[in-house]
Symmetry: C2
DNA sequence: CCTTTGTGAGGGAGCGCTCTCTTCATGATC
DNA sequence: GATCATGAAGAGAGCGCTCCCTCACAAAGG
């Protein structure tokens, strides 16, 4: 008992396969009475086109891959970035009639599979998320010739359009804000230095401090809460007199606030804290977290739109979205 | 300039298409010298099988759909549940060589598309996540005849295997813990009552309280932080003398803690708080949150394995995973 | 009147693979 | 030496669709 085919519909409607195909694909060159006839047969039989047969001949799949190339995929279970980015991108793609294949390219094995998958033209395009510096995947994917965009600026030169937020500007805003608040010993908790967002944010921090003749106090985290807590403990040891800290994302800021609490420091009285991203949780810390709002969802949606444009043959150029300082009680 | 086909490989290796197909699919009935010959041709030409052609004849796609049927998809941007579930399931499917198609079935439109998509046999199976009571999608999907499992027990009778955690047992543990701590006026913040997890948790809360002759104090949220805060404010108004609250998930517990702080109540001195899920953020509240650990990732992985078993023709029965109370300083 | 142009419908090749069936070679058995 | 079982390789028929080409017919133009 097999599903009905184009041919079955054609027979029932008393027309040719070609005509049914035209109706199903919405081509205008079909007389309306014939169209009705065909549609009736389609409904009667419950006909649904076979996507494999279709894409065999059209060489399209109408689906795209979202590849999250993140070694830590699996370590941090609840980074809001993943959820926000994947959902925003999915919405955008689905609205354009593209299906989303999600691939976690955490292990080398998975990266190889992802490459194969894309090279097999299983998808019409690829959106790459969160790549580290040494990651060979972007280049491998670019080499397949499949349209590709990156969510976030790649760390090394690669001819791939990307969308990012203004990491440099955002971080500079955060540090200037702390200076304006009269803070004098401003530390930072950076993200992994093989990620462009972390590079840009710490770069701006250093830049602003050196403009005003102040020295940097740096600890490195990996964008997780626990790494933020550990980095903060380290910073307090390095410079017990610090009076402010700029964390390169909100999760690390949250970790830092816990470490400060445990060390008996009050926020913001003793130490001011500023984060980055403005995730929902930043509203619920005690005190609520001052942070730089990065348009994560919009960035993902823009990446998706960039890829969709690419698929339509439009040219694509990098996009940088503005950020905005959101002042709350932690600073 | 087209990609090499099976035929091209066969010609180059001087064998038939059938033999190449056997080698590519790892069939054992090929002499090893011929196998080497073919593999060399495959590598020389960079041959990768065309998945559309393959699935046209095999009627398999080697991919499955993860359908998140959540009306609020898009409202709450950073629910860790989405991230945890999607990642755990993806890992499991990818390890089994299945690709994951992610579909957000938030709108009616998207639900229709998801149904069509599945009915077109675009995927070999479906894992459904987070369904509300009135959702017509589960039944529609079940009617397509495509193997289907549900992450979380469906609200209404439906012959679909599912995996859930022990919501009743977990919630009962939480409430008993509060009683043991000497709390007398225990309120609850429930999730939406059209979700089975919310139903079970509030059911257990009522059950335990009525066993000990205490009355219920209930407010309804929707599993978001803000709804937790609002519900807590409502509860304080309803019963200013309450001394404990059991929130049906951690996000609402976090919201409740903010509301308590704003109302000038100390946690746990004035009001004890217990959450549910044990998300990472529960470790970073002030004070750290007592909660019921639900094995979210394991539940998703188990759902995925259940579906994989179904695809292999194995029978599938509902699974209930145990929970565990994690006592921290909020109670 | 015949020719040209346009429009709508049908015919059928072919997309790249799998899988059944057939053929052939080899060695074992009697 | 004839027969048979066994294993490995080849042949080729589809899978269900799209899309180019052809064709019939009608209307317009010379």
């Amino acid at each position: 008992m097999r599903r009905p085919t184009l041919e079955a519909v054609a027979t029932r409607a008393g027309v040719s396969k070609s005509t049914v195909s035209r109706v199903v694909n919405g081509e205008p060159t079909v007389a309306s009475d014939i169209r009705d006839l065909v549609m009736r047969a389609v409904n009667d039989l419950g006909y649904i086109p076979n996507p494999a047969a279709r894409s065999l001949v059209t060489r399209r799949t109408d689906s795209i891959a979202v590849i999250v190339s993140d070694p830590s995929a699996g370590l941090v279970s609840d980074d809001p970035m993943f959820s926000t980015v994947v959902r925003a991108a999915s919405r955008e793609f689905e609205a354009a009639g593209k299906q989303v294949m999600l691939m976690l390219a955490g292990s080398d094995d998975a990266r190889v599979r992802a490459r194969q998958f894309v090279a097999a033209r299983h998808v019409d395009g690829v959106m790459l998320v969160s790549m580290h510096g040494a990651d060979p995947l972007p280049a491998a994917l670019a080499a397949t010739g499949v349209p590709l965009v990156s969510h976030g600026r790649p760390t090394f030169r690669l001819d791939v359009p990307w969308v990012d937020n203004d990491n440099t500007g955002g971080a500079a805003q955060a540090v200037r804000h702390l200076l304006e608040r009269g803070r004098r010993r401003i530390a930072t908790i950076s993200g992994p230095l093989d990620m462009s967002a972390a590079q840009d944010r710490i770069g701006a921090y250093r830049e602003v401090l050196s403009e005003t003749g102040r020295r940097s106090i740096v600890a490195i985290g990996d964008f997780t809460r626990i790494s933020g807590a550990e980095a903060m403990a380290q910073l307090l040891e390095d410079d017990p007199a610090l009076d402010a800290v700029f964390a390169a994302n909100d999760l690390m800021a949250i970790g830092a606030m816990r470490a400060l609490r445990r060390a008996g420091r009050r926020v913001p009285d003793d130490v001011a804290v500023v984060g980055y991203d403005d995730i929902e949780a930043a509203l619920y810390t005690d005190p609520p977290l001052t942070t730089v709002r990065s348009p994560m969802g919009e960035q993902a949606a823009a990446s998706a739109r960039l890829l969709l444009g690419l698929l339509r043959g439009e040219p694509a150029a990098p996009v940088i979205l503005p950020t905005q300082l959101v002042v709350r009680e932690s600073s």
